[in-house]
Amino acid sequence: MFVIKCPHCFEAREEEEFSYGGEAFVARPTSPETESEESWGDYLFMKRNPKGWHWEMWGHSTGCRKFFVLKRNTANHTTVGAWTLAEARKIYDAEEATA
């Protein structure tokens, strides 16, 4: 039962206000027609599904209706923060670059 601080409403709110939106930053291929069947299928269905830190999208369904990004540990349900899509992108990219 999470408390999530919505990066748009700037307030900690109960999990029931939000809906889970799956893995964040699954980029849609820019040119789908040139994707192979395998790479398109990977985009559609393959997930990181990590045990540990997970960058994921949530929507503030009952509040501002914005999608945002939460970094959450799937092993113990701790969170380090929630950011707008644009803010999160920078942190995520920096993290991916060092990974």
Partner: protein
């Protein structure tokens, strides 16, 4: 295989203070090499090892378990067994499993208490009823027992159920599979462990796989917390942790691991002699031999490996049960828990070879794995032994997520497991 569990043995041991019972399964030292290694000593993994030994003559098998055997989803489910699936591929696989269930107690000489008390899948809308009709007809054409019932017929068989038209989701009818039922979950793991062990399978508990040794896209061995094991065939049956094992092998899976919660009531005198499932209201209920109402909830929407979910899911399911059975409002929840279920986009499992030679995956059972235990092990053993799928699992490949040939129990059946 020795079949020494019987009433006579029990009586004779009773006179000897039960001191003559031997271990149900051996706990041998791990060897450095095996013909086949199964990762995960849940019901599916143990069943795989059992059938590999029994039907395929492979004796040098290890089953590695990072915790204690049968401690994952095998120990955390609501024990429903049925085979009334819509699509041929799924129906045939689960029916194969159901047939194995029907002879399992005898086959493994361990009473798994398979109780064919029937399963009702309730329909609450006109579309539910169309889907039920469609599924029941498909089942009958596939030779699977199934009936479509109207609300009164449901009431006749379950007198406690509320079929009032004034409820938010009035019960309009149900599909009913008489041969379906429930079983004793722990007994399945223990029974398969004992039977596999009797065939010489080494079950190694508290042994975690830490890395996979893959050379030229072929499996060579496993690094474990108890040392290195060389092997050319590895079957991975780790349910909620399948993505973690896949990552170790450098492959991605179309899986998401979600909490699935369940709870039991305090023990009651017999009140419900069948299994009632409602996907529309998210509640599944049966009564165990011990008298507890065993109740399953819907999955939590987020991914998690923590074996717990959010309380509002349980609260909703309690409300759903009260909608179906208003008299259970004063019955009390004794214990709740969560498992980790690995869900696929089409709600069907993956029983498949991978691009790593000798590495096989059996995963993605979502909320429906328990019922498949013997069937899953049986076809997976075939797949590993022959390096080719059994006809019954040929459709359950990883490849279908690329070609689009999904087996869409999700979209089509709208029936939870």
């Amino acid at each position: 295989m020795k079949k020494d569990y019987s009433i006579w043995k029990l009586l004779s041991q009773g006179l000897k203070h039960h001191e003559g019972w031997t271990p149900a399964w051996r706990s041998p030292e791990i060897k450095s090499s095996y013909d086949v290694v199964i990762i995960g000593a849940g019901g599916h993994g143990l069943a795989t090892a059992y059938y590999l030994a029994k039907e395929h003559g492979i004796k040098n098998i290890a089953v590695l378990e990072k915790g204690y055997l049968g401690g994952g989803n095998t120990a955390r489910n609501t024990t429903i067994v049925r085979s009334n699936y819509l699509w041929d591929e799924a129906a045939m696989l689960y029916e194969h499993s159901l047939k194995l269930w029907e002879g399992l107690t005898e086959d493994i000489n361990y009473n798994v208490m398979f109780s064919q008390r029937g399963v009702f899948n309730l329909g609450h809308t006109l579309q539910d009823m169309r889907d039920i009709e469609r599924r029941v007809n498909a089942n009958n054409l596939n030779g699977i027992d199934a009936l479509a019932l109207n609300a009164q017929e449901v009431k006749d068989r379950i007198p406690m159920i509320n079929i009032s038209k004034d409820t938010r989701f009035p019960i309009m009818g149900a599909s009913f599979q008489p041969r379906a039922g429930v079983a004793r979950h722990d007994a399945v793991a223990w029974g398969f462990a004992r039977a596999a062990s009797n065939y010489g399978v080494d079950i190694i508990e508290n042994c975690e796989v830490t890395a996979m040794d893959i050379v030229n896209s072929a499996i060579k061995g496993l690094q474990t917390s108890k040392g290195y094991i060389s092997t050319s065939k590895v079957g991975c049956v780790t349910a909620g942790h399948s993505s973690v094992m896949a990552k170790a092998a450098g492959i991605r899976m179309p899986l998401e691991s979600h909490p699935l919660q369940a709870f039991v009531s305090e023990s009651l005198k017999p009140i419900l002699d069948t299994v009632v499932m409602s996907n529309a209201v998210h509640g599944y209920v049966s009564q165990s031999d011990k008298g507890e109402l065993v109740i399953g909830a819907g999955i939590d929407h987020y991914t998690s490996y923590a074996q717990r979910g959010s309380p509002h899911v349980i609260e909703h399911t309690a409300a759903a049960i009260i909608e179906l059975f208003p008299m259970f409002s004063r019955v009390r929840m004794n214990r709740q828990w969560g498992g980790i279920v690995d869900t696929t986009p089409d709600a069907c499992p993956i029983i498949s070879k991978t691009k790593v030679k000798g590495l096989y995956f059996n995963c993605g059972w979502g909320t429906g794995g328990f019922k498949a235990t013997p069937g899953s092990g049986n076809v997976f053993a075939h797949t590993i032994a022959h390096d080719e799928p059994h006809p019954l699992n040929a459709a359950f490949t990883l490849d279908r997520f690329h070609t689009g040939h999904l087996i869409d129990e999700h979209g089509a059946a709208g029936v939870a497991h």
